[in-house]
């Protein structure tokens, strides 16, 4: 059911503005004032979406956001596969983020790769009272003994570490020296820092700069460069996304010398300063280190989008634009090669999805990047927003992705999102696990757009058929015709007729 096809654009805008006003009435005055700044209806031609972002969440509302630890350990560092990432502090943070993000990797878990293990210092009361540095020292010794093939260690600090004043930097330096210059990275990603996971990404990027790049030695960077070397930055390899991306880059003649950070390794991080181009998928989480590499090593970076054939082709050409004709031809060759697959997917799925409307609420880049893929299938995104976006995300969204009249909601909370969906009645909602069951109970088809709902990959040409199939199976599942008991449906129809 789509409003978009029956209303004029002015009607849509007016309706969406009314919806926002109505939602705000529930709040105490002070809160309503603050939330009003995060909700808007997009006006075509504007430089951004007209919402405030990257501000503190309001206490007591059900924000969907996480914390800095989630941004650093859960997103940026956690997927580096040959390093051991210590959740330093109490047991919970590591436990809840254990294996939940589907950052696929190849390796022998527990021996030379460690992504799906949960290493923690499991703080007890005495560690809070006496400090955790001594425990950390001992813990690193134990790691070295039990996991001799680890290539490095990171220390991901949880809330208490900063509050009790532990000196994890000193421990890192001392232990690194003791183990012959081993890479041991302290990351100050306590959950109370900043307003969301976003600061955790930034802190994690800074840790790469300070504890990897600033400590590179000729021995670590013995790497034979080629003119076609690129690094994939900001792809976390959710169900293999970075692999279905990498294969295209290699097919067009580039050499991918590093993946950040999905299926990535310490050696790849160390090799990256020799890339000719950094290609950046998740701008939000890794623009910082990309800018740093540009400044310090002179490596240009470009954003790309591998969701859906239109954006894939556009991105392949954009990337090729940084290289010679050989690569440009390679890009065209790849586009031509996959065109029959694209045509077959669109022929099969577009008739089932044409005109369907979608509302999104995700993190990173997805609130904008997946819009093209939906449009390739004839669908329309009528509402979108970021969990932890900044103004530059909303600029990119306004300038390249959303249509006039789209409902925009920054840091939407459970209450607002439910009301918006109730009023807009989209055919599909794309968000996370915390939202999934709420909307399914309401009878609204849903896909988890953080984890691909355990499916995927969605990136690249090999990912697009999976994306299309998944949206079709969600929207057109016969289960949605069963949500109303037939006797109740009959009773409701009678009631309506009687009115």
């Amino acid at each position: 059911m789509s409003f978009a096809r029956t209303e004029s654009i002015e009607e849509i805008k007016a309706r969406n503005k009314d919806i926002i006003q109505e939602v705000l009435t529930v709040y105490p005055e002070k809160t309503a004032k603050r939330r009003a700044k995060h909700l808007n209806v997009h006006e075509a031609g504007k430089a951004d979406c007209g919402v405030k972002s990257n501000l503190k969440s309001i206490p007591g509302v059900m924000t969907i956001r996480g914390c800095a630890y989630a941004g650093s350990k859960g997103v940026v560092w956690g997927p580096i596969k040959d390093m051991i990432h210590i959740s330093h502090g109490p047991v919970g943070c590591g436990q809840y983020s254990w294996g939940s993000r589907r950052n696929y990797y190849a390796g022998t878990t527990g021996i030379d790769t460690f992504v799906t293990l949960q290493f923690t210092s499991d703080f007890q009361e005495k560690d809070i009272v006496f400090g955790g540095d001594k425990k950390l020292v001992k813990l690193i010794d134990e790691l070295q003994e039990l996991f001799p093939l680890n290539n490095g260690i990171t220390i991901q600090s949880e809330c208490p570490i900063g509050l009790i004043g532990d000196d994890i930097e000193a421990v890192s330096k001392a232990k690194s020296k003791e183990y012959g210059g081993k890479t041991i990275v302290p990351v100050r990603c306590e959950g109370f820092r900043g307003v969301s996971q976003s600061l955790g990404h930034h802190i994690a990027n800074d840790a790469v700069r300070d504890w990897i790049f600033d400590r590179l030695t000729p021995e670590k960077t013995r790497f034979e460069p080629s003119p076609y070397d690129v690094a994939i930055i900001g792809d976390y390899n959710i169900s293999g996304d970075a692999w279905s991306s990498r294969i295209l880059l290699e097919e067009m003649g580039l050499r991918v010398i590093a993946q950040w950070s999905g299926d990535g390794s310490l050696a790849e991080l160390e090799a990256t300063p020799k890339a000719k181009l950094n290609i950046l998928h998740c701008y939000r989480s890794m623009n910082y280190i990309s800018r740093h590499m540009e400044e310090k090593f002179g490596i240009p970076w470009c954003e790309y989008n591998f969701f859906g054939p239109s954006k894939i082709a556009e991105s392949l050409r954009k990337i090729a634009g940084y290289f010679d004709d050989r690569i440009k031809e390679g890009a065209e060759r790849v586009i031509v090669k996959y065109q029959p697959l694209v045509d077959a997917v669109v022929a099969k799925y577009r008739p089932r999805l044409e005109g369907k409307t979608v509302m999104l609420f995700v993190g990173g880049l997805r609130p904008r990047h997946v819009i093209g893929a939906y449009e390739d299938l004839g669908m329309e995104v009528v509402g979108t927003g970021y969990e932890f976006g900044h103004n530059d995300d909303y600029q990119r969204t306004a300038q390249h992705y959303v249509k006039d009249g789209t409902l925009i909601y920054d840091d939407v909370n459970g209450y607002e999102f439910e009301r918006f969906v109730e009023k807009m009645q989209p055919d599909l909602v794309g968000s996370g696990i915390k939202e999934k069951y709420v909307f399914q109970k309401m009878g609204v088809p849903f896909r988890q757009m953080h984890s691909w709902d355990y499916s995927g990959p969605y990136h690249g040409y090999d990912g697009f058929p999976i994306f299309a199939r998944d949206m079709d199976m969600a929207i057109n599942s016969p289960v949605w015709r069963k949500t109303k008991a037939p006797w109740k449906a009959v009773a409701e129809a009678r009631l309506l007729a009687a009115e």
């Binding site: 040959d82 109490p90 919970g92 009361e125 425990k135 208490p160």
Partner: protein, 518 residues
């Protein structure tokens, strides 16, 4: 190109294709600085040895793959068991996102909970403003009947005083003076999720029974004939609570389930999202003080709560996850003794059916060796049932089990000839379990979803019972308690045993042991 619009390959098959395998091999060889495969194999073999086990068990600082979560998760789990109750976690907000995700991933249900979203400024100045604004916002938006407050480690480290904060917030008009805001301090660096369950439940009962934080007279206990029942932190809360209600109804016992979250984790899909559903009414929570007795299904989940209740003059009684015949017998007989009600024939017949099933199938289980891990009560209950089945629970490991648990487990082993070579491991984690499985192998492993890596590493087939179960669906809807629950557990174990026989004998070219009849 392997991908195809007519037969879409997802990650399960796509990356097994030759072009991806080649790509991954090249990446490894050229860019990963990976280890020599022979060296990887050598370390892998070494990690299976008694020598490695010794080093592994000598660990003092490092915890690897613990089978426990932190206090506030248990507090949230208990809080949503009360009518119209919104859990409010005071501290940094990321924690709440984690609790909600964790519970949703297990139950495949929405999980509602708010945070006071404390950040750096609150770390310096304290979280009073966050509490005041937060309570006002939650009260207005989510229209709860009660807001149950617990804490994260952050709020505990800086020492926020919940009692004072809530009082001040009420004075500032965040919520009405008489609105129920029970609270519990639940630092993540003490105990585990079962401690949090205990603290939150005690906090809620204390609120209603002991004068609502000094704002109302304490309740005067007027004993009645009702029985309180507490399930504890339980991944099977949906199936188990309903089974317990059925048993109470069959016995014609009047009861109050305290922290009954069986409906909120099992709402229908019918076009409506129910943020609150079911739960112990606030009236029942208050009146529970008058009950004749309180029965807890989980001793280590309710230690403080039961002590508190006992202090109000009731008889209290704790079980350890009543799985199997004897545990259910004990539960029913205790109920009968306390209430004076007879155990009905219907339950005796159910019992007979479970014994019948065990007699039919015990040949397949007898003498099989098991390893078990999980919460202390669950471990105890499952072990007791395995001993009844003639199985040997060789390693029983509980990361949040303590010395008292260890002693009780050892006593249980000693009570059966099948427990002779069995050991309890309190405070150990799943990396310890890995060493145990390599050095003293067993036939089957029982535990939660995280055991699948142990299954793969050690080739010990995993029977999924516990929390969390993320990678199988709907198990939580079936009880594991009572005779019916025992039947479910028995079938689960047998299915895995038969699947294993089939798997081992499903070899083309041989036609023996791959049997139709068992």
């Amino acid at each position: 190109m392997a991908q195809n619009a007519e037969h879409v390959l997802d990650h399960v098959e796509l990356f097994r294709g030759p072009e991806y395998q080649q790509m991954l091999a090249n990446k490894k060889k050229m860019f990963e600085n990976s280890r020599d495969p022979a060296e990887v194999e050598r370390i892998r073999e070494w990690s299976k040895t008694p020598e490695y086990r010794e080093k592994n068990f000598a660990r003092e600082a490092l915890t690897i793959n613990p089978a426990k979560a932190c206090q506030p998760l248990g507090a949230v789990f208990a809080s949503v068991g009360f009518e119209g109750t919104l859990p409010f976690v005071h501290g940094s907000q990321g924690c709440v996102a984690y609790y909600r995700s964790h519970l949703s991933r297990h139950f495949k249900e929405p999980s509602s909970c708010v945070s006071s979203s404390m950040t750096e400024d609150a770390a310096v100045f304290g979280g009073l403003n966050n509490m005041t604004d937060g309570l006002a916002n939650s009260y207005n938006m989510y229209k709860p009947k009660m807001i149950a407050v617990s804490t994260t480690c952050m709020a505990e480290v800086i020492g926020d005083d919940l009692n004072a904060f809530i009082k001040t917030s009420k004075e500032k008009g965040s919520v009405p003076q008489d609105f129920d805001v029970p609270f519990a301090h639940t630092p993540a660096f003490v105990g585990s999720h079962i401690t949090g369950y205990d603290n939150a439940l005690k906090g809620i009962l204390e609120h209603f029974w002991d004068g609502k934080a000094g704002t109302a007279p304490k309740l005067e206990r007027v004993p009645n004939e009702k029985i309180n029942f507490i399930g504890g932190f339980d991944g099977y809360t949906v199936g188990n609570t309903r089974e317990i209600k059925r048993i109470f109804d069959l016995m014609d016992v009047r009861y109050t389930i305290l922290a009954d979250n069986s409906d909120v984790f099992d709402t229908p899909t019918d076009g409506e999202f129910r943020m609150y559903d079911g739960g112990t009414t606030l009236e029942d929570a208050a009146n529970a003080v008058h009950a004749k007795a309180t029965i807890s299904a989980q001793q280590w989940c309710t230690e403080k709560t039961l002590a508190f209740i006992a202090g109000h003059g009731q008889e209290v009684l704790a079980f350890n996850h009543p799985v199997g015949v004897s545990a259910t017998d004990d539960l029913l007989m205790a109920l009968s003794r306390i209430t004076g009600k007879e155990i009905p024939e219907a339950l005796a017949r159910e019992r007979g059916r479970l014994v019948d099933a065990m007699a039919d199938s015990s040949a397949h289980i007898h003498g099989k060796k098991f390893a078990i891990y999980g919460d202390p009560d669950l471990c105890y209950g499952l072990t007791a049932f395995l001993l009844e089945l003639g199985a040997e629970p060789v390693h029983v490991l509980s990361t949040n089990g303590n010395k008292a648990w260890e002693h009780k487990m050892q006593a249980l082993f000693a009570s059966s000839p099948f427990g002779r070579n069995c050991h309890a491991y309190p405070g150990r984690d799943l990396w310890h379990m890995r060493s145990l499985l390599f050095t003293e192998p067993v036939d089957f492993l029982i535990g939660n979803t995280h055991g699948k890596y142990l299954e793969r590493d050690t080739s010990t087939p995993l029977i999924r019972i516990g929390f969390p179960i993320f990678d199988r669906h709907h198990h939580h809807r079936s009880p594991v308690w009572g005779y019916q629950g025992g039947m479910n557990v028995l079938v689960k174990i047998l299915d895995k045993i038969f699947d294993e026989i089939d798997r081992k004998t499903s070899v083309a070219g041989t036609d023996y042991s791959f049997d139709i009849i068992r």
